[in-house]
């Protein structure tokens, strides 16, 4: 009898597939890796061979240089790729550009590793695609019932109201450099903000890469030139760490905003000195996590990282046996 743990099991390096001899999102260098998406805690440099989507490989190349792994293989969404006795298929996860779930099939057993994912619309990447499976291996970054992300358009509308209300101040948005920043810019464009958006230098290469992959970000300007008063009434996007750095002193009395799922909790906003929290996340919120488990009804739910206990309890209460893997090495969103 085939047991799921014969196909995938947690090891210190990450989730290991013995029959295919590869790791998924390993946190240390390994011989063969499947990478679900380009965030640094999932996509590290120095592996022997890497299988990922073309976009994810491009992101890794941009971050680590072209020689980031011994060999690279791009897989299109939905294309089944053999790895020894195992078949690996990458399907959209809706997290960031290039993000994928890894669907692993072996001897009639299907296990899906979600990577990081979300279920709602994101103008910068294709939507999450549910795949029926025996075992669903989910993240649980926002695995508590307090995390109910509002409609991102409402959050952007709140930001634009504030820009109109404080025309003499600038609005400085902290947004993770990969994915969040481009999504915020795209959402602003969809809301009708067609003026230049000023960006921190650390975002420029990833912005260019998104544009290359067909995401139109509109007019962008570097936030490093110009006089203080030039930024009155303007929107600036920067990595979260820069918003409280001395770098931000160049702007007139900035309203500090931060786009993150953690902003749902007031104390988190206060701790970071955020005046305008924007609850916009690239992860599934509680409703999305539970709805996904409900929709897939897998034979078992495994939980990789985040607040495992609450999601595990919910699944048990709803008749899906759940198990927390407690993988280490994955950071919480925006904890940079």
């Amino acid at each position: 009898m085939i047991r799921p743990q014969d196909l995938l099991c947690p090891k210190p390096e990450g989730l290991y597939c013995a029959p295919g001899d590869f790791y998924i999102d390993p946190v240390r260098p390994v011989a063969r890796a499947v990478i679900t998406h380009g965030h640094a805690d999932h996509a590290r440099a120095g592996h022997g061979a890497v299988l990922a989507t073309r976009e994810t490989l491009d992101i890794m190349g941009e971050r680590y240089g072209a020689e980031f792994a011994g060999a690279m293989q791009a897989a299109a969404y939905g294309e089944a790729v053999p790895r020894d006795a195992v078949e690996v298929t990458l399907v959209p996860a809706g997290h960031v550009l290039g993000s994928a779930q890894a669907v692993v099939c072996w001897k009639g057993l299907t296990m899906v590793v979600s990577g990081d994912y979300k279920r709602r619309r994101d103008p910068t990447c294709p939507a999450f695609q549910p795949v029926p499976c025996d075992v669903f291996i989910s993240e649980a970054t926002f695995g508590l019932p307090v995390f109910r992300h509002p409609d991102d358009r409402d959050e952007i509308a709140r930001l634009l109201r504030s820009v109109a209300q404080f025309p003499e101040r600038s609005h400085l948005i902290g947004a993770y450099a990969l994915g969040k920043a481009q999504r915020i810019i795209r959402l602003l464009r969809e809301a009708g903000w067609d003026r230049p958006i000023y960006v921190h230098g650390a975002l420029e290469r990833l912005n260019a890469l998104y544009e290359k992959h067909g995401v139109d970000l509109g007019p962008l300007e570097p936030a490093t030139t110009g006089k203080k008063q030039d930024f009155e009434g303007q929107i600036i996007v920067a990595p979260p760490s820069a918003t409280q750095d001395r770098w931000s002193r160049r702007f007139p009395d900035p309203v500090t905003a931060f786009a993150s799922g953690w902003m749902q909790v007031r104390a988190r906003a206060r701790q970071r000195g955020v005046e305008l929290p924007l609850v916009i996340s690239d992860h599934a919120d509680w409703d999305e996590l539970t709805a996904t488990v409900d929709e897939l009804r897998p034979g078992e739910l495994w939980i990789t990282h985040g607040r495992e206990e609450a999601l595990a309890r919910w699944a048990d209460l709803h008749g899906v046996p759940a198990r927390a893997l407690a993988l280490v090495g994955y950071e919480e969103e925006d904890d940079d």
């Binding site: 307090v146 509002p150 104390a267 906003a269 206060r270 005046e275 919910w314």
Partner: protein, 541 residues
């Protein structure tokens, strides 16, 4: 409700006073009557609901969801109202979001049983921020970092032509929510509402703290009168058109707690002074006054044991005449005559303290003359020519507080803070050395402080606490505190009181961390007898 919720949400995260003013002003401009009036009443603390008690909310939420999941959520968020607002499992088919005025009307009229049903329905219909605002509104404690005065200021600015905030404060006590007449006036659509409300509160004039290094060089001592700063609470006593009232300096009516003082008001007029407990014309301690404060009703025993009185220092109206436009020198003459005519042991005059120049006054402040000045908080300086101006104008009045008392104490326990400090151990209990019956030297707690340090120092203390934890009790950690290992704080405080609640027998007033003595071994911190000597000195003047 949505706009009001967004306003509270933004206020709670905005530190800048100007930004808060803009937020409230714009809300008042963009919101129609009567919603904006109810919002203003909520912001100024003039709205409360008796029937709405939040205790049932927790039960209601646990009936709707797994209690374990609720508990984990509450544990993570740390605030009950916020947790409920976020996790509330709305029943499907909820109705439309209520208007603020609908909520207020219903809460004012409803019985306790009806209120529960109403609130559950509103929670179903609202978004998380709206739910949070609703729960805050119900409990009556908005805690969004906005004073009533600032809210009135925003109202004063809301019209096409802003008016002075004192004009709003002057009529405030004649107004009733939802203030439609006020907004009509501010927007230029109506007459100024009448302030002719006998017995109304007059906005108080407040003093700036003097900056010794800067201000004295610029001030001419001949321009200023000096008097002692009494250690009670600031009050305004009004006797007008047969209405007699006692107000705090923010306009709260405390007449019911002090019938003895109110009864003493005989002549028509308004006086500004300090409320104190006085026995045979001598000022008693603030601790005695506390026996009378915070009581809704008073019994004969308390009245006899803690007789209250006013020490008057200004006069705002005499008979029907508004005296606030007169210079202080003239008001002082009027006040002296007024108090003499009252001839009541419940109303005496705050004496002037003559002085020749700033050095002499400094010497008086450091070493006050015998009698009541020994228990004064410091000195007040008032320009002889200053009119009585609402607010805190810079220049006419200064307060010059006595230097605080200082001791070195040892950190014993640290507790997690609230709000933006919820990830820091920021509330500290500290102690001094004493001896137990066996002659063993040990620490006894003498106070608790949670400010006086910079953000950078907070980080350092927080690290010290985490690195030196001995035991954990929920949010509290006990910290290593031995003669050669531990952390010493130089603690500043305004005074000492005897206390039966504290094991050490003393309690500090207004303690704060003055300095962190990283260099000092805890063994060299102060001892309890030092505090006892200080206390004896304060009492035995």
């Amino acid at each position: 409700m949505r706009a009001f919720a967004e306003l509270l949400d933004r206020l709670s995260l905005t530190g800048s006073r100007n930004a808060k003013l803009t937020l409230v002003r714009d809300y008042l401009r963009e919101t129609s009557d009567p919603d904006r009036g109810w919002a203003l009443a909520a912001l100024t603390g003039d709205l409360s609901f008796d029937a709405a008690k939040p205790a049932f909310i927790r039960k209601a939420v646990e009936e709707r969801m797994d209690p374990q999941l609720f508990w984990w959520s509450y544990d993570y968020v740390g605030d009950l109202a916020e947790t409920v607002a976020l996790v509330w499992p709305a029943r499907p088919g909820a109705n439309r979001e209520p208007q603020l005025s609908e909520v207020v009307d219903a809460l004012r009229g409803a019985s306790r049983a009806e209120v529960q049903r109403l609130i559950e329905g509103w929670l179903d219909a609202l978004q998380p921020t709206g739910r949070w605002a609703l729960l805050k509104l119900m409990t009556g404690a908005l805690r969004v970092g906005l004073t009533a005065r600032l809210a009135k200021r925003a109202a004063a600015d809301m019209g096409p032509e802003p008016v002075p905030v004192a004009d709003v404060e002057e009529i405030w006590h004649a107004l009733h929510p939802p203030y439609e007449d006020l907004f009509a006036w501010l927007e230029g659509r109506g007459e100024r509402p009448s302030s002719e409300n006998p017995g109304r509160f007059r906005p108080a004039m407040l003093a700036q703290a003097i900056d010794e290094a800067v201000d004295f060089a610029k001030l001419d001592p001949a321009d200023y009168a000096a008097e002692w700063k009494w250690d009670g609470i600031r009050v305004q006593a009004v006797n007008e058109g047969g209405v007699r009232r006692l107000y705090t300096r923010t306009g709260d009516d405390i007449s019911k707690s002090f019938p003895d003082v109110v009864d003493a008001l005989q002549a028509e007029g308004v006086i500004d002074g300090e409320l104190l407990v006085m026995r045979d014309g001598k000022v008693a301690s603030f601790a005695d006054l506390q026996q009378r404060l915070n009581r809704k009703t008073v019994d004969a025993k308390a009245l006899a044991a803690f007789p209250a009185a006013i020490r008057a220092y200004d006069i705002l109206a005499q008979g029907a005449e508004d005296t606030r436009v007169l210079p202080f020198a003239e008001r002082r003459k009027r006040l002296e005559a007024f108090v003499a005519k009252e001839a009541s042991p419940r109303i005496d005059l705050s004496p002037m303290q003559p002085f020749e120049g700033w050095p002499q006054l400094a010497a008086l402040r450091a070493d006050p003359p015998p009698g009541d000045p020994q228990v004064a908080e410091g000195l007040m300086l008032k320009r002889w020519d200053s009119i009585y101006e609402a607010g805190r104008p810079k220049g006419p009045w200064f307060k010059w507080k006595r230097d605080p008392y200082l001791i070195d104490a040892v950190l014993m326990y640290a507790q997690r803070g609230h709000g933006k400090r919820s990830s820091f151990y920021s509330d500290y209990t500290f102690g001094v050395w004493t001896e137990d019956e066996a002659g063993q030297r040990l620490l006894t707690p003498v106070g608790k402080a949670y400010f006086g340090f910079t953000d950078e120092e907070l980080k350092q203390i927080d690290k010290f606490v985490r690195d030196n934890t001995i035991e954990r009790f929920g949010p509290v950690r006990s910290v290593r505190a031995e003669p050669h290992a531990g952390l010493v704080f130089e603690v500043a405080f305004e005074g000492l009181q005897r206390s039966t609640r504290h094991k050490s027998g003393v309690a500090m007033r207004f303690p704060r961390i003055n300095r962190i003595r990283w260099d000092k071994p805890p063994g060299e911190a102060d001892e309890l007898p030092t505090l006892e000597r200080m206390l004896a000195q304060m009492e035995g003047r």
